[in-house]
């Protein structure tokens, strides 16, 4: 192979070098790793713009709300004081996929970020079943533009305080604003009204005095019929897990614009829901991809040893996992776990131990690790991915152990550790830990008595007896009452009751 000149030698970047690096990375990603991505749009932004982006849920546009300002104030203070570094990149699940690069990054970092975000995350967004089912990548930016202008128009018409109050309550219920099972979308009330408005406009335009002079018995041509929306029945289907949806459809007090506002918030909640369920996989996928691409670039002689070292330095700090008694410990690092598991799958495919053959007979030693990984990226979420793919070796490497915590007892009990008897329980418990359905309280609308006192009954079905936090519970009930307009009760039920 003839020697190739590196893409860059300096730390400084310019657009020409970025372009060359992008092309080289694209070549590897598409032709060698055979990734499947949305078209890329890469934007270079300054650190202040990065802070701005942080505080609007990392979306390029967003309606205005004070809570984003609060987030911004906190991030800015932490950043200025040096407590937190900025993310190197932000990537948006849209089509085209938008990645933000920070202007302060060095050239090797920009290459890393392009590989990580524009190909790793991008592939995951495009292929994972949760994102495919629940998010509309091509439409999200248009929807946000609609939401932004809609909320702004509401503020003009109904006053900022009123709109903020609705948004406050809706934001509080965001976690309870998602469907966990599919359901066909329906036209919202506001859009139905819009159709009626259009129809009336058409009739007003088409009206002519001439038709009144027609002899009896001849009817004037009528406006073309706009098909009526499918039956917007007021029938409640209880129990209902999506509280925001329920309130939007059935609250006796909300006005149409308020219902549409709830709809916007729950649409966003639904859009972000897959990301919540795939933190480990998403970051693992992006990290695995950038690691593969950067090493490939080096093997082809396209980056220098210096650049490779800089990359490795940053890569190692990203996948660093402090131990539980380390003061840096702040939960399991999704980058570390995700990348660890995916690198481990590669190892099992290429160089399995006997143990691995017992645990993963379907692919141990198969050699084609990309096929296994792509299947995992497409068809799993964190919980199922861990349950399926966490290997005994990785449990040993992380020295994972499980604690059992029973309220009222003075000590935790070590339930399982990284030994022969412990692998399966640890794996299962870790998987449960990543099950969003269990980490968040299961609260449903159980009854709504519209005939008499209009009392709304919510039920929290406790998992293993863990109750709601009392303090936030009362604050939250106030929010639900604001949206429902009448008294709201919340019962906590033991499983099986």
């Amino acid at each position: 192979m003839k020697p190739v000149a590196p893409l860059f030698r300096e730390a400084e970047w310019d657009f020409e070098t970025l372009d060359r690096a992008y092309k080289a990375i694209e070549e590897i990603a598409l032709n060698e790793l055979k990734l499947d991505v949305y078209p890329n749009q890469i934007e270079v932004i300054s650190s202040e713009q990065m802070l701005d982006a942080y505080s609007s849920l990392a979306m390029p546009l967003m309606y205005s709300h004070w809570s984003f300002g609060k987030l911004f104030a906190r991030e800015e203070t932490l950043y200025r004081a040096g407590y937190s570094a900025l993310a190197y990149e932000i990537v948006i699940n849209s089509s085209p996929s938008i990645s933000y690069l920070l202007e302060e990054n060095t050239m090797p970092m920009q290459a890393l970020v392009i590989a990580h975000a524009a190909f790793g995350h991008n592939h995951f967004f495009k292929n994972n079943y949760l994102f495919r089912q629940w998010t509309n990548a091509a439409g999200i930016l248009d929807y946000l533009a609609f939401a932004k202008s809609y909320i702004a128009a509401c503020e003009d018409r109904h006053g900022r305080e009123d709109v903020e109050a609705i948004l406050d309550s809706a934001h509080a219920l965001m976690d309870q604003g998602v469907f966990r099972y599919s359901r066909p979308p329906r036209a919202s009330r506001e859009r139905v009204l819009e159709k009626h408005r259009k129809r009336r406009e058409y009739e007003a335009e088409a009206y002519s005095e001439l038709w009144r002079t027609l002899p009896a018995g001849i009817t004037p041509p009528s406006a073309p019929l706009i098909p009526e929306p499918e039956d917007e029945s007021d029938e409640m289907r209880l129990p209902e897990e999506n509280i925001l949806y329920f309130l939007e459809k059935h609250s006796p007090v909300l006005k149409d614009w308020q219902r549409e506002t709830l709809r916007i918030v729950r649409t966003l909640a639904q859009y972000f829901y897959p990301q919540k369920q795939t933190k480990v996989m998403n970051e693992g996928c992006a990290t695995f991809v950038h690691h593969a691409i950067m090493n490939q670039l080096y093997d082809k002689g396209l980056i220098t040893e210096g650049a490779l070292l800089e990359f490795l330095h940053s890569h190692t700090s990203v996948v660093f996992q402090p131990e539980f008694d380390d003061k840096r410990y702040n939960g399991l690092n999704p980058y570390a776990l995700g990348y660890g598991m995916m690198a481990d799958i590669k190892r099992i495919c290429e160089d399995p131990a006997d143990e691995d053959r017992d645990w993963f007979p379907s692919f141990a030693g198969s050699g084609d690790y990309m096929a296994v990984l792509k299947n995992a990226w497409a068809n799993y979420r964190d919980e199922s991915f861990i349950e399926q793919f966490l290997s005994p070796k990785l449990i040993r490497d992380f020295r994972l152990f499980a604690l059992h915590d029973k309220a009222g007892e003075s000590a935790y009990k070590v339930a399982a550790i990284h030994n022969e008897n412990g692998y399966r329980p640890v794996r299962t418990m870790l998987a449960r830990q990543y099950d969003v359905g269990l980490a968040e309280p299961n609260i449903q609308v159980a009854e709504a008595n519209l005939k008499s006192d209009r009392r709304l009954l919510l039920q929290h079905r406790m998992h293993r007896g863990v109750p709601l936090n009392e303090k936030t519970k009362s604050l939250m009930l106030a929010h639900v009452e604001r949206l429902w307009g009448y008294d709201v009760d919340l019962d906590e039920l033991e499983a099986g009751e």
């Binding site: 372009d19 932004i45 701005d52 104030a73 293993r464």
Partner: protein, 438 residues
């Protein structure tokens, strides 16, 4: 270059609107925090960005959370096991942040933590002014102090010779010479050279003779033309013009005078400091540059720095006039009235040596008040005294004496305060727009 978009030049501060919403939302907490923070910082620091810590009340964003510590059971997985075996027990930490396992549990609970962030000086001042309703009085009460300065006002055709604008003049001259085809010196020299050559070569030939005559006439015409087309004509001359314009003096000096004798305690000084702070802030909004001079006095006055002014103590009697003398001396030395707007604020507990009050009045009336934009005297009493001196007319010697000064000068104000809450109203009254007496 199809994939890259440079957004760096896009407007930043997209979050500014949200930030303002947040500040408005948390207004009550922020106001409290700002007041507290101002109390603890030096007078001039009010202009700086500052870190504000507020409680999350009012800006809380609650969610339904599970509370595993309140009941039930759950499991969690941690990395980095060293010595634990199945069945071992680990004591739970007492509170949420006492250990890692506890931290995990604490994650379920919405933190009641204070919320800390940085406010810019503009935001701090907005809060400050909101309390004081200062914006009105900033606009209305201070009188403009006109300084005059000469400013360029274009070009004129008349002026004194030292104001000639050479570039303009010569440009006009050059244009005119070009237009009127004034022969240059080198052209005439050329003609002369040609003539000379002809005369030496063959003066006899008829052709040559005619040429010589022609040349001579040409030379004469050119020289005549040079005479009537002047090199620089009075028409060409332009002068720089200046016009006199008023500019407000952009600097102010603020004299802080305070009695630091034993009778002035911590409380009194704190009250005085708040007042000085307000005045400083007020002046900062108005003037480009504000100097502060701290003069403390007992029976003798000294200029000191802020630290000493507020925090050190001196023993001795009380002679107020020494401070006034000191102030005049400093003013004469460093702050000419032509360049500086002079403000003075005096804080005292109202005691002075008997007889000294009269001298103060003289000095104020004769020397100080003519120089000052505004002179504020605040007398700091304790609340018991405040009741005794309920009426404006009763009071200690200094108070009564200053009241006479106040009658003569509109910009001299006296006020008594006994608690922090008094300061803002007093300050407002000092700088209130005077009731327009037709």
């Amino acid at each position: 270059m199809t994939h890259f978009i440079d957004r760096r030049l896009n407007p930043k501060g997209k979050s500014l609107a949200n930030r303002q919403r947040f500040l408005r939302r948390a207004r009550a907490q922020i106001r409290e925090a700002v007041q507290k923070s101002l109390k603890e910082s030096p007078v001039a620091d009010i202009e700086k960005d500052r870190k504000i810590r507020i409680s999350t009340k009012g800006t809380r964003e609650p969610r339904f959370r599970l509370d595993p510590r309140a009941g039930g059971e759950h499991d969690f997985v941690l990395p980095g096991n060293k010595e634990f075996m199945p069945g071992d027990e680990i004591k739970k930490p007492k509170n949420g942040d006492g250990g890692q396992a506890g931290k995990q549990a604490a994650d379920y609970v919405e933190g009641d933590d204070d919320f800390e962030f940085t406010m810019s000086q503009e935001e701090v001042l907005d809060i400050f002014f909101e309390d004081l309703e200062l914006p009105n009085l900033v606009r209305t009460t201070l009188k403009e102090t006109p300084n005059r300065t000469w400013k360029r006002a274009g070009i004129t055709t008349a002026g004194s010779p030292n104001q000639i604008n050479l570039v303009r003049t010569m440009r006009n001259s050059f244009g005119r010479r070009l237009a009127l085809k004034r022969p240059s010196l080198s052209e005439i020299e050329g003609l002369h050279a040609e003539l000379e050559a002809l005369e030496q070569e063959n003066p006899e030939g008829e052709e040559t003779q005619a040429r010589i005559i022609g040349l001579k006439e040409e030379i004469a015409r050119a020289e005549a033309k040079r005479k009537w087309v002047a090199f620089v004509d009075p028409l060409d001359v332009r002068f720089n013009a200046f016009a006199e314009q008023p500019v407000p003096a952009s600097q102010a000096v603020m004299f802080c005078l305070m009695d630091v004798s034993g009778s002035m305690g911590e409380r009194e000084k704190d009250l005085a400091k708040r007042f000085y702070m307000l005045l400083h802030l007020f002046l900062r909004r108005r003037y480009g540059k504000v100097d502060i001079v701290f003069v403390r006095h007992t029976h003798d006055a000294q200029e000191v720095d802020e630290q000493e002014f507020f925090y050190s103590r001196q023993s001795g009697g009380t002679i107020v006039s020494t401070a006034l003398e000191k102030m005049l001396e400093i003013q004469r030395e460093r702050y000419a009235t032509a360049d500086w707007n002079i403000y003075a604020a005096q804080a005292s507990d109202g005691y002075t040596q008997s007889g000294d009050a009269r001298r103060c009045v003289e000095m104020l009336n004769n020397d100080i008040m003519p120089l000052c934009q505004h002179y504020a005297y605040i007398e700091i009493l304790d609340e018991r005294e405040m009741e005794v001196f309920a009426s404006e007319d009763s009071g200690a010697e200094l108070w009564r004496a200053y009241r006479t000064v106040a009658e003569g000068w509109e910009n001299f104000a006296t006020k008594r305060i006994s608690k922090p809450a008094d300061i803002f109203p007093v300050f407002r009254e000092f700088f209130r727009k005077p009731e327009t007496a037709s």
